[in-house]
Symmetry: none
Subunit: 197 residues, 4 copies
DNA sequence: CATGAATGAGTGTTCATTCAT
DNA sequence: TATGAATGAACACTCATTCAT
């Protein structure tokens, strides 16, 4: 019997390598050779686990999404209402190295998603999942009277979602202008706008 | 007797071609050959006016920035306070084809700027100019009592700037979810949060 | 207690798979992976039974030759003279699916045989066996007075042999121009040229 | 003004290199790198003149066809009837190095034509042109009473065409069995079968 | 005996860049 | 100044082959 490798595990391992390469080299510098090198395998191995380069990059993006989604449970455990919403929002800003990396990957894929339907669909699905969680948290906070219940929850959700991505890209491009404290302060200020006086 | 060519004009001409190619092919599909073809010149001509491909792309980005900045004067002519601020913000959302194209180019460059110091500097400078105009408009609106004067103008500016880019990328990636009307409504809703009651 | 496998049988099994792959994919598209897949075995098994890819292809060719030779006995059973010769010739033209496949394989190997001594030797040996049978049938027909006995039997043999391969390649490349009836008619016409008036 | 290269000339030059590489390495060993090396140019130059590898190989085949067709005029000049037919047939057998090379190329492409529609069409067209010339020569010889006028000229044409290709492939694969003299003798014997007694 | 993971050389192809004209 | 022929490194990808299990 040959060495048995779990196909799923190896795919993940290679997708993680792709993830790291996109972060360090940019998405344009993420060549299959470099991904293979980063993974510690030879170049040919990629073809056993992926259809091609696009497939690897998609897998890296989806891996990042899955990682982020999984973390939400831990983050939100024991929290409710506005407190949960705030933690959720702050965790989706580049306030720590982990979040910086995840956001970096996301932004790296935006330019490609503009001209690649597959990537756009992946991000659309993630955006939908993200929006649903966000909206549910917003409505919970409204129900508890912590946020103005008279404002359409969809409006709040879309504004907060846009704020997340807008602050994220600014923080990544101009890290000297937006450190974790500033991001937190800005997000709190935005939330405060919907507080009931 | 050599043909006299305005160096500056020709650079602009080529940068415009690069601009169009980035929009249609994506920034990864923007090859020098394609830019040359789009410009109507031969491939070799690029080397007379640009250091290399990066230089062409930088020029295209800077051209887009200059075009946008020039338009602000027209847009804001005759307007003051909140009205001016609102028009300024809406003009920076992808509400029309021109704005969609400009935003598309901007987003296309973000991924490269993450790993390219030159591009990052260009965008930082533009962001600074943009932020100064925005802040001045915000403060004007505050001074006129149209926006809450007790909120730090820098805070409002940064939130609005983030909102612009966040809504922009969402509208580009998911155009079915964010049409011009929705973007306008959302931006108005955000502005209303700072209205004095 | 190792599993007992008849080495010879397994080679044949794999050679048959190679035979099928050459037919469906062309000899250039006959990869070891595809041959393994077609055989139902894993890729690595080929190395246990063959020296390498060339060896597999050789085995497929030899298998085809053996299959063809074996069939001659059945075909010629009970026939003599010109009738036997005619049946032999027609059976070597692409008049049915079996013959089409066999001819297809043969033609597929010609290009490789031009630059591969091993394959050339295999085809030379087959050609020799084929020629000997053909000549014996020709001489039998001559002896029976069915074909002109004054013509050198080697000459008739070589012309008939060339005619077989020439018609074969034409029929494979231009199947609309040469169906089974036309091939039969042409071969009969050629034979008739040596009939004694 | 840059060095101006006649596109058609350079294509021909490269197609000739491809022609030589197919002869020396076989059609499977005809890599673009090797063709470029043989041409004396770098690998990248091929893309300026051909769509891809298939296009180069097609061009090599078509070049060979054009070369052969052009020679017919010289060969047949001043000849008529059976004499012309005989010279035409002999020139299409591998009796000299030039003909050997041309036939070699042709046979090399047969295996690919079996699975490649483009190549098959090219060879079909050539076969059609060849057949038309052949038939016209046959009919001329029949009209002059040099060949039996009672035999269908199409039948003679198809048999001679098949004989050409059959003898050709045999001569290429087993050159020790078929030298120029033998090929000539066999072709003459075949022609004699239709002579009027 | 059979597996299939892994290799790495080699493939066709693209592309930014150079430079003689 | 503008051309476009030519370069050659780099790219994604394929594939025959090896070998530990």
């Amino acid at each position: 019997m040959p060495k048995i490798v779990d196909h799923h595990d190896r795919r993940r391992e290679l997708a993680e390598a792709a993830w790291r390469v996109v972060l360090s080299n940019g998405i344009d510098g993420a060549t299959t050779r470099e991904i293979a090198r980063e993974s510690g395998f030879s170049a040919g191995v990629l073809s056993h686990y992926f259809e091609g380069k696009d497939d690897i990059l998609q897998a890296a993006l989806e891996l990042s999404h899955r990682t982020i989604l999984k973390r939400f449970d831990d983050i939100l455990a024991g929290l409710e209402g506005l407190a949960a919403l705030r933690v959720f929002l702050l965790d989706n800003l580049p306030v720590g190295q982990r979040q910086i990396d995840e956001t970096n990957l996301e932004v790296s894929f935006w330019s490609r998603a503009l001209v690649n339907g597959n990537l756009r669909e992946i991000q659309r699905a993630e955006s939908k999942r993200f929006g649903e969680i966000l909206r549910s948290l917003v409505e919970q906070a409204q129900a508890r009277g912590e946020l103005d219940p008279d404002v359409d929850s969809r409006e709040i959700t879309e504004l907060l979602g846009a704020m997340i991505d807008g602050l994220s890209v600014h923080a990544l491009l101009y890290p000297d202008r937006y450190d974790a404290r500033r991001l937190t302060k800005l997000m709190d200020a935005q939330l405060a706008l919907w507080r009931v006086s």
